[in-house]
Amino acid sequence: MVDPANTPLGKMLLEEITPVVMVLCTPLVEESCLKNGLSFIQMLSPFCNFTNIDVPVRTASDQPYRLQKFKLRLFYASDIRQPNLEVAKERLKQVITQAGEKDFSEMWSDPPQVNDLLSRPESEILPSWFQFFNEELVRTLSFSDHEAFDHPVACLLVVSSRDEEPINRFVDLFNTNKLPSLLNDGAMDPKILKHYLLVHDNQDGASEKATKLLTEMKSTFGPNDCQLLCINSSQDRQIHHQENPWAPFKSDALPTENLGCFLNFDDFNEIKDLMQELSSKHIIPYMEQKIRVLNQQVSATRKGFRNQIKNLWWRKGKEDASDSPNGPVYTFSSVESQIRILGDYAFMLRDYELALSNYRLISTDYKLDKAWKRYAGVQEMMGLTYFLLDQSRKEAEYCMENAFNTYLKLGSAGQQNATRCGLWWVEMLKIRDQIKEAATVYFRICSEDPLHSAVMLEQASFCYLLSKPPMLHKYGFHLVLSGDHYKKCDQVSQSLKYCDNVPNSRSSNILQCFHLQIKHAIRTYRSAVSVYKGTTWSLIKDHVHFHIGQWYAFLGMYDVAVTHMLELLACSHQSKTTQELFLRDFLQIVQKTGKTFEVLKLQLPAINISSLKVIFEDHRTYASAAAASVKESVWHSLEEDMIPSLSTAKSNWLELQSKLMPKKYKESNICVAGEAIKVDVEFKNPLQISISILSVSLICELSANLEEMNSDGNGSNIELQNDENKTSTSTRDIDSSSILSEVDLSLEGGETTLVQLTVTPRVEGILKIVGVKWKLSSSVVGFHNFESNSLNKNVAKGRRKAKYSPDNYLKFIVIKSLPKLEGIIHSLPEKTYVGDLRHLVLELSNRSKFPVKNLKMKISNPRFLNAGNQRELNVEFPACLGKKTNVVQSGGHSNINKVLQNVFLFPENISVQEETSLSWPLWFRAAVPGNISLYVTIYYEMEDVSSIMKYRTLRMHYNLQVLPSLDVSFELSPCPSRLQEFLLRMDVVNKTSSECFQVHQLSSVGKQWEISLLQPVDSILPSQSLFAGQALSCFFKLKDRRKSSTSEDSIPSPSLLLQSDVRLGPQGNSEALFDVYSSPLADFHNSERLHQGMPLQGNEYKVDFVFISQLLKGNIDSGAPNTPLLISHHACHCSLSSMSSISWLVDGPQTVQHNFSGSLCEVNLRMMITNSSDAVASVRISTFDSPSSSIQSSDASAPQPGLPPENQAGWCDIPVVNDMKVITSDALATRFTKSVSLESVSQFIWSGSSSTKLRLQPRSTAEIPLQISVFAPGIYDLSNYVLNWNLMPSSEEEKQGEASKSSGVCQGYPYYLTVVQST
C-alpha cells in the first residue's frame, strides 16, 4: 500500500484542505501588482506551496512532530462566500464544452478499439479533463458553513505605501460590513489572526517612506504582525523568468504577456520569505495554539464519563425542540462548532488521530441533533481521515457511504455535497483497486442534472473498462447511457434557447449553441461502437449507429453520418416502421451531402454471390437462356460425334492463341466482340419494405489491346464505370468499346430477384467483369466486387472448371466478331397431347456479314422431332399426309438415308448467307407423355477460314409438357377358322379430361397385311367422336396376304379387305386417308420401332399399327386455340405370343351321309400345314385311336404305336380373351380329356399310316391327305392326333438368338364330324 498522502486523493486532499488566508487589500496595491500582469493573490500564489517547510508542530499531545509539506490558500475577502450555483454550473458547462470541442477535433480518426484501449496505460485512456472537471466540481462547494476547513484561519491586510493614511486604511479594511458573511453571521469567529502588510512599489521611489510607515504600523498593530514588501524593483521591463512561476496561476494569460516582468530576483526572494514567515511564524503557531485551547475546552466539557452522560441527557431533552431541516443553528461559540474547528485544524496540521477523535465525538452529537448536513460532513471527514491514516478501510468506506447517503437524504440541498463526497469516495475506491465499486458510486452520483450525470456515467464506464478483468458490456452500456445524457442536456438547452431566442438571429450559430454537448454524445457512442462491433446484438448496434448518424447529421457532418447510417441498412430484424425510419433518414442525410455516395458492399439489397452465373458464348452459342442453363455435359454428349475432334480443333486454336496472347490468358474464356456476356445475379431485399433500385449494371474493364495487358499496365485499362452520362435508354454506350445493360427493379419486402445483366464488348481485347453496381435512390451508388469473395462461386461453365482460378473466371478474351446463327423453332407447343403430330419450321438466321456453311443438326430425341425435307417447307398440313393416288407408294420416302446416327446433314449446297435466314421444316410428334426436354444442336462452319474459330454450334433447348390423350391397345388372336387370318381387337380409351377426339384411321404397317372392319364403326360409335373418359373397342380382321401366293386361298376375300388402311370415320367422309408410308409418319414409326429395340425390318409375324385420330378443337395449345390436331398412335410388334411357327388346318366335310348297312364309311380329310418360319421344319403327324393313349401321348412326345386315331381339327373352344397367351398345352390336354370322357366310345379309326413325316420348306404350305373310317353314325371329335414339329435353324437365326420355339408338340384341334345314316 502506497502512502495515502501520495495517492491522487491524498494529494488532492493536501491541496484542497489547507488553511485559508483571507486577503484584504487596497486598490493601489492591486494597481502596483497589475503592472506585472498579476493580481496580488496571483503574485503571492506561487509561494504559498511549501514542500519543505520543516516546522515543528505540537498539538494536543505533548509529542511534537515536524510538518514538511504545507500550503496556504489565499482568497480575497469578496471571494470567501459560497459560490453562486448558477455561475458554477455555467462554468462547469463551459469546461465540458471546451473539452468536447477539443476531443472532437481529435476524433476524425477511427475510434480506438477496445483491445487497443486496454493495452494502453490508464492515464492515456482516461480523458484528462475528467480530473479537471472533478476538481472544479469540488470547488463549487467551497466555504460551506457546515465545514470549518474553508474558514479563513488568518487575515492578510495589505496597504500600499502610496495610500494616504495607511494606518487608517488598515483599520478600514477590516471593516465588518465588508467582511464575508461567514464571519458576520456568526458561523465563524471574527477574531482571527491578522497580519498587516505594507506593499511598496519601488518604481514610486525609494523605500524610506515605507520603512517609516512600517515602524508606525508596528507601534500601532504590534511589532510581530507587520511587514513590508517591496515589489517592482526592476526598473526596465527586461526581466524574463525562465520558468515563469506565475503561469499556472493565471489561466487566461496570453503567451506574449510577460508575467512578473518588474519583479526582479530580490522581489522574488522577498515574497518567498514573506510567505514562509507568514506560514511558519504566524499561521501554524496560531493554529497550534488554537488547537490546544479548543482541545482543553472540549476535554473539559465533553470528555470523561460524567460529561458524556450529561451531554446525552441534555441532548435528549433538546430532541423535540429542534425541527428545522438542517438541525439547530450552531454558532462559532457553540461546543459543536468548536469541536468541528478543532477537528479541521488538526486535520490541516496532519494530526489525524486528534482530528478523528473529535470528528467521532461531534458526529454522534450531530446525529442526535438531526443536523444531517453537518453529520454527513463530519462523516465525510472521518472517512477521509481514516483513509489518510491508512487504517480500517471498511470504516473509511462505511463513513463515506454514510455521508453520501445522508447527503442524498437531504434532497437537492445535499446533492452537490453528495457529488463531492462521491467523488472522494470514488477516488478512495480507485486507489484500493475497487474499480467496480467506484463505477457504482459514479453511477450513484448521477443527479437530475443531465450534464453532470453524463460526465459521471462516462467516468463510470471507464471504471468498468479499467477494472480487472474489464467489464466491456457494462462499459458499453454506461457509455450509451452517458451519451444519452449528453444528448438530453442539449435538448434542455435547446428548449430553453427556443423560448428566449430572437427568431431572426443567425441560425447556424444557434445550431452550434444547441449542440454543445452532442460532440460528447458522439464520442461516447463511438467508443461504445467498438464494444458492440462484431457482436450480434443488433438491436443495440442499430440504436448506436443510428444515433451517431443522426447526431453527425445535426452537426452537418453528413459524410461521417452516412458511414454510420450505412451500418443500419440491412436491419432485417427491425420492425417495419423502424426500417422505414432508418431508410428515410439515411436517404435524407445522403441528400443533404449533396453528392453521390459510392459505397462498396452496400448492404441494400443483399447480393447472393453464390447465385452468380456467367453465360457467355464462344464456339458454343445458345438460342435461349434455357439452353444456356443446361448442363454442359448434356450438350457435350449430344455434340460429340458432330463437331470435329476436340483435340485437333483445340490444338489449332491453342497454337493460334499462343501467338496472340500471353500464357496467363490461355485459360481465359473466349468471347466474341459484339456478342453479349450475360451475368445472372440474385438480389435480395432483406427489409420488409419495398425498395427500388436503379441502374443495375456491371462494372467491367476492357483493355482494348492485348499488348497493353502484357505490360501489366492497369492504368491503360479503360474504366467502364463512369456513370455520369445518364440516359433514359436501357443500354449505355461507354467509350464505344462495350455496351452495358442497365436494369431498374423494385424489390418488395423480402423479395429475391434474379437479374440478368449483360455486357457487350465491341472491340477485341481482354474484358474483365469486376463487379456490379446499382443505385439506391438517386444518390447512393452501391458496388459489389465479384472477386472479393469468390470462394463459393457457382461456376456455370463446367468444361475447364478445374483449371480456372476465380480471376480468370470473370476474365474474357474478346476476339473479333464472328458469324453467329440464331435459331428458333416456330410454333413448337409447350403443352400438348401424346401423339400430336405437327409440322414445324426451324428458322436459322445469320445476322453477321459472313456466311456459314456445312450445317448439321442433331436432335436429342428423334421420337419427338425429326428434320423434314426441304420440299416440305410450305406444304399444307395435314393435307400433305393424305394418300396421293398418283404417286407410287414406296418406302423410299422416309428420310432414313439422311440420318446418320441421328445427325441430320443439311444438303451441301445449303449455306446461310449474310443477313438472311434459312427455314427448314421439322416434324414433331409427341411420343410419350411427361415433361420432355428437347435438345437441338446445330453445327456450322465459317466460310471465312481465317477466323480463329472454325465452327460454332447453336444450341436450342425446349421443354414441353405432353399430356396423355388416347390409350390405344391392340390384341391379336388367331382366327379359328382361317389360316393366315387374325382377329384384332383395338381398345381406345380417352384419357383426357375434356377433349373430344375423332377417330380417323387405323393402318397396319407393311404391305403384307390386310385389315378390315368386322362391323362398321357407326354401330359402335355413332358420333365418331370419343369424349373424355370414353372407351371404344373395335374388332378388325387382319389377314396375312403373303401366303396367298404359296397356297391357294379358298376364301374369296371382298375387295374391301385388300388394303392396309381402314377408315374409322364417318362413311360419307371423303377426306383422304393418311399415308403412313410417307415421310413424317414413317419416320416417326421407325423411331418408335427403334425405341422399342426392334430392327427396322422386323419379324413378319408381328404387326405394327398406326392409329390416327383428330382433335378438332384442341384447347391445349394456348398459343393457337381451336386448331385441329392430328394425333397418331403407333403400336409396334403386336403379335400372338403363342403363335408357333407351324400352323395347320384340318379341312373336310362337316356332315357325311352314309349307309352303314353296306360298308364302313371312309371320310377324306385334308390337313394344310404352314411353316411361317425362316427355317426348314420337319413335321410328324401321329394319329391314334384310343382316347386313353391320347392322354398319354399328350405328355409324351413319343409317337403312339398302334392305329392312328381319328384325326380331328377345327376351332378349339377357347374363348378369344386376353389371356390367350397363357394357354398352354397342358390346358389343352385337360380340355381334351373332358371331351373324350363325353365321347364314351370311339367309333372311328384313322386309316392310312399312323405317322406321317414331312419336311416343310421355309414359308411354305403343304397339304397332307388324311382318312378316317367310321363304323357307325354319330358325332366324332377328330382331335386325337399330335403334331410334332421341329425347326432346323439356319445359322443366321442362331446368331440372332431368337426366342421363338424351335420345336413343339401340338394337340390336334377339335373337329366335329357328323355321320348320318343315310336311307
Binding site: P469, H473, V480, T536, W537, L539, I540
Partner: protein, 143 residues
Amino acid sequence: MIVCVAVVGYQNNPLYIQSFTDADDALKLHHIVHCSLDVVDERVNNPKKSGPTLNETFLGLLYPTENYKVYGYLTNTKVKFILVTTDLDVRDADVRNFFKRFHAAYVDAVSNPFHVPGKKITSRTFAERVSTIVKSFGLSSVG
C-alpha cells in the same frame, strides 16, 4: 412479473430474447441483458468458495437495477439464461424452478435437427413454451 427472458450463446451472442412488456422497451432490456453478461462472466471466473455452488448452474441474482432484478443461469455448454423481473421479492426456489423448465424447453428447441447451433432460436414452439413458463412463473409466485 417477468419482463424479459433471454438465451445467450457461449460467445455472448444473443440466441433468443423476448420481452413480455407492452411498452416499447426492447432496447432497454437488451441493454440490461447485455450488461448482465459481465456479471455472469464474473461469477463464472470467481466462483464462490462455498462447496454446494460447485457445478451449480443457477447463478442467482446477478444484479439489481432500480426497477429490475436480473437472475442468471449457466448451462454446461456455457449458454446463459437471463431472467429480468420486476418482482421485488422473488423466492430463489421459484427462479430455480423457472430455469429448470426453461432449460428443458431450450434443450428441446436445440435438439431440433433443423436448428443450427449458434444461430438464433426461431422455433415458434419454443416461444410458446417459454411464454407459458413465464406465465406460470407469475402465477406460482403470486400464489
